[in-house]
Subunit: 206 residues, 2 copies
Amino acid sequence: MTSEDIGPGTARPGGRTARVRSAVLRAAGDALAEHGLAGLDLADVARRAEVGKTTVYRRWGTPATLVADLLADMAEQSLPRTESGTLLGDLRANARLVARTLADPRQGALFKAVIAAATCDTRTAAALHRFYDIRVSEWEPCARQAVERGELPADTDTREVIRAVSAPLYYRLLTTGEPLDEATADRAAEAAAAAARAGAFRTARP
Amino acid sequence: MTSEDIGPGTARPGGRTARVRSAVLRAAGDALAEHGLAGLDLADVARRAEVGKTTVYRRWGTPATLVADLLADMAEQSLPRTESGTLLGDLRANARLVARTLADPRQGALFKAVIAAATCDTRTAAALHRFYDIRVSEWEPCARQAVERGELPADTDTREVIRAVSAPLYYRLLTTGEPLDEATADRAAEAAAAAARAGAFRTARP
């Protein structure tokens, strides 16, 4: 099967190109989730995506390029943040979303694989950093609004508050075999909120 | 060069075996730090360690087994904790040690590589979990003594306090390109201490 089999030509510019990319990135995500980084093979991805091998090799070339493009796509599909009206409510929504994502068998395995891939390749690392930058930017207004409401000190590094929510969840995923349940998520949110209130994320600390 | 070249036979039981293991694990650590997980090759490790290939293949068999043994060895070499007399002082000492380790070019690359290896292999993951269990057990008395001094609530999950110190440092290492400096370490310690004081790590939370 070749890339021509994906669908008929279309008048919409980039239509087939976009469909091929979508099929290939989904297949790459599946392969990474199932076999981890070591199992990512462009020919296998082409087969899974029902796209011509030549297309995949020409467009992505290496597994690292494919993982970088997958991360760019994941960043675009970032879910909008929740607004609950309180810092703790917002951070809890964020923590539960992250914990649910990492606890999901496909998503959890995929995140482990892309983090592992980033340790092996600087372009993948740059794509991973951009992905988390975008995620943090999406949720940072939760902390900024808490500053505006007077819940947090004025000179709080609001991006660090959001990172503090995710950090214990990723640390748990990568360094323990323990489950990422809702109680774990809520504790991560409470710890980040308490630390922020106490001024631990102030930019000008004493 | 074969394993026989490592040194003469010795009356001390396990002496040569221990020297071979030590040379092989150091070479494995060097290879991982230089080339990451993808570059770990038993023949290359044997060459670097000046040990016979057959010895390495017979004793470790696969890169995953070698990484698991390296992690067991790293756990044994864990540094003793600092006792400063206050929770914040102890957690700061822990955070600075972790940050210095991860900021060190060889050690940082090695930790990234073993975390990546653990995502690909369940035995390596088990060895990594044991490694962090031992590290947490070494530092957990800092939080336990803070409970005894009345600095923290009685039902504090003291292991979680220690993990909270490391989590933002590892998260920064893996998801950003930002440096792990002393200010980052101190902020991690302050955030963990503030969250613990506020009761975020109590086992029976409201």
